[in-house]
């Protein structure tokens, strides 16, 4: 059914093999382990998780930068196979990628004009359109006056401007989907909101979809409609942003929300409730629910033996936790 869903992932798995002495298998890192979700056109979703929860691996799988171990991705009504060069080219023409570290993502030896014309050249956009497309994209991300910026090199730009350039490069082919991997984590607090608003405005004005990945929950609420919470390779909770902030269901989502401070001097007087321990190893994840060793509400005999399926205690709010069966 093309047109109804832009992107859909079914039981997606991305495992990385660990090698011993170069050829023996020493197990797998289950970075993404059975994830399903749907994305409608012009919808924006945020994936929140700690480092090592597999959020970047999920994104790399969607982009075809990592091999799929199991499951499938359907993009725009067609199954995407990252082993096919044709599929890769088609996918990347329709998906814009905003990287985390803008300076690392921009070639230092190219000026802005060259950086922005690269995707146009690769995708064989007619030469006479280039100038206009480049100028439009730059105006859109407010790298103005355009003529001053065109001959500049990445090192001449500030962090915020570099990130704008990365965004301009991502939208210049007018993709249907933008994936942004922690686009503001390297930037200063005062610039972050500006960049997030810019992304959100672009998304709205072009009816693009966005998958936004972050570990910073507090920025989510101004940005996207739906939030997925990832823990140890799985999506444990899917909800509308407002709903999640007000009423988190999964115990992990609850402690995560609780741990984020708002600026207030009262914070100094009390201690935070934080679960003991650290996220599990993805080579040997715990049996049953992956959060059960740290969970304050774990049910003995259930949570540690059986993996919870997805429950939907409220409409559009699903959670993988036995508490809601």
């Amino acid at each position: 059914m093309p047109g109804e869903l832009l992107l859909s992932a079914k039981d997606l798995k991305t495992w990385f093999e660990l090698k011993r002495w170069g050829f023996l298998s020493a197990g797998f890192v289950r970075a993404v382990d059975g994830i399903s979700f749907d994305l409608k056109p012009s919808e924006s979703i945020t994936i929140v998780g700690e480092s090592g929860s597999g959020k970047t691996s999920l994104l790399r799988t969607i982009l075809g930068l990592a091999q799929i171990t199991g499951g499938e991705i359907t993009f725009d009504g067609k199954i995407f196979d990252a082993r096919e060069v044709k599929d890769l080219a088609w996918m990347r023409a329709h998906v814009g990628f905003v990287q985390q570290d803008p300076y690392g993502a921009l070639p230092p030896f190219m000026d802005i004009r060259k950086i922005l014309s690269e995707p146009l050249l690769i995708n064989k956009v007619p030469k006479e359109e280039h100038e206009k497309r480049i100028r439009d994209a730059m105006e859109e991300v407010r790298l103005i006056p355009v003529d001053d910026f065109l001959p500049k090199y990445p090192h001449m730009l500030s962090g915020g401007q570099q990130q704008r350039l990365v965004i301009a490069r991502a939208i210049i082919l007018r993709p249907k989907l933008i994936v942004a991997d922690e686009p503001v984590s390297m930037l200063d607090a005062s610039v972050r909101v500006e960049i997030l608003e810019l992304l959100s405005n672009i998304q709205k004005s072009h009816n693009m979809s966005i998958i936004y990945i972050t570990h910073d929950l507090s920025s989510v609420r101004y940005f996207s409609e739906r939030v997925f919470i990832m823990y140890a390779g799985k999506i444990v909770e899917k909800a509308n942003t407002r709903e999640l902030v007000q009423n988190p269901l999964h115990p992990y989502a609850q402690v995560l929300l609780n741990a984020i401070p708002d600026p207030d001097h009262e914070n100094a007087k009390k201690f935070k409730e934080v679960p003991p321990g650290e996220p599990p190893s993805l080579v040997n994840p715990p049996s049953g629910c992956r959060f059960h060793p740290r969970c304050p509400h774990a049910i003995e005999g259930l949570c540690n033996t059986q993996e919870p399926p997805e429950f939907e205690p409220a409409p559009h709010h699903s959670v993988e936790c036995w508490l809601y069966k």
Binding site: E50, D188, H265, A268, F271, V274
Partner: protein, 335 residues
């Protein structure tokens, strides 16, 4: 056998001292670069009372890390000017020779927790050995005694004791950061400078570390100077807040006041840019960019981006005292 250093003359003779732990007067630090001089710390003065913690806030490039390093005299080679007075428990440590500073101040009286713990630990030494090292070097302690003390600080920061015999690469990021904090605590310093101690860590680990720091603050009555750009996290530890902009201190006051009603227009904008999770508030951003420190503008340095600027702003404002808070803004000329 370790060679015993000859007995050095102690600078701090009496163990109890009443008065501010740290007093900085007109501290200036500038660096030589090919095109001129960059003034990273431009005439900063403040005081920190005993048992209090100070958060130094500012954007990157505002000179907050340089301020921390200037206090600890950890300077790069291209320093052009390094002047002012830094009183630690009443003694002007700027007057000390490099040798005496190294022997009796750095990591004895003032220690520092740096940003990226993974880069600060030695990969080929066991962490226990690294944590005990300051005692072996500075206090000529016997090995057993030093390790006993290391065990004690490991307990304080919440690292399992068997980690003493592990290497840095065997620990997670949060544990490594705790080890660095343990190293900073081991000599019982008068002041601990925390330079972005949690910015490389995850939310839950961050909350864990902040809890540990809070406990240390209560139990040991330690003085922290927390340098960060993360305003929400800084509120977990701060009693006082100093806000820096373009190398200058623009506001210094109590945390209770600062987080609710900042006075300087820059602090107001900065606070407004913090996204808050639990309240309905749209974050704002500050238009424009901070000025270059190569040729800072005359007058108020924030004037170009300020929403409240008026005629007076082309002159440089002094720090006005507005009912106990210090603000560098002409708006508060009359208190």
């Amino acid at each position: 056998m370790r060679k015993k250093n000859k007995e050095v003359q102690k600078i701090w003779s009496s163990p109890d001292f009443h008065g501010p732990v740290l007093k900085v007067e007109d501290l200036r630090l500038s660096f030589r670069v090919p095109v001129g001089a960059i003034c990273a710390v431009d005439g900063i003065s403040f005081e920190l009372a005993s048992g209090r913690s100070l958060a130094v806030l500012g954007e990157s490039g505002s000179g907050k890390t340089s301020l921390g390093r200037a206090i600890l005299r950890l300077l790069p080679r291209n320093v052009l000017t390094y002047t002012g007075k830094v009183f630690l428990e009443g003694v002007d440590i700027m007057k000390l020779s490099d040798g005496r500073f190294r022997q009796q101040v750095r990591w004895v009286k003032i220690s520092m927790v740096t940003q990226a713990a993974m880069n600060s630990l030695n990969p080929v030494l066991k962490v226990g050995q690294q944590v005990a090292e300051p005692l072996l070097i500075h206090e000529q302690m016997e090995k057993d005694e030093a390790y006993e003390r290391a065990r004690e600080v490991f307990r304080t920061v919440g690292v399992p004791l068997d980690f003493l015999n592990r290497y840095a690469f065997e620990l997670s990021g949060g544990m490594r950061q705790r080890v660095i904090i343990a190293m900073a605590l081991i000599t019982k310093p008068a002041l601990i400078i925390l330079d972005e101690p949690t910015s490389a860590l995850d939310v839950l680990t961050q909350a864990n570390i902040m809890n540990a720091l809070k406990r240390i603050k209560q139990e040991l009555n330690a003085n922290f100077m927390l340098i960060t750009h993360d305003i929400a996290t800084s509120s977990e530890l701060a009693d006082e807040v100093a806000c820096m902009y373009a190398g200058q201190l623009v506001e210094h006051g109590s945390a209770a006041r600062f987080y609710h009603e900042p006075l300087h227009p820059y602090s107001q904008k900065l606070m407004a840019s913090v996204p808050a999770l639990h309240t309905e508030k749209r974050p704002d951003f500050i238009p424009g960019q901070p000025p270059s420190l190569l040729n800072p503008p005359k007058g108020c340095r924030f004037a170009d981006r300020c929403h409240k600027r008026f005629d007076r702003c082309h002159e440089e404002p002094p720090l006005f005292n507005c009912s106990g808070e210090l603000v560098k803004c002409w708006l508060y000329e009359n208190g």
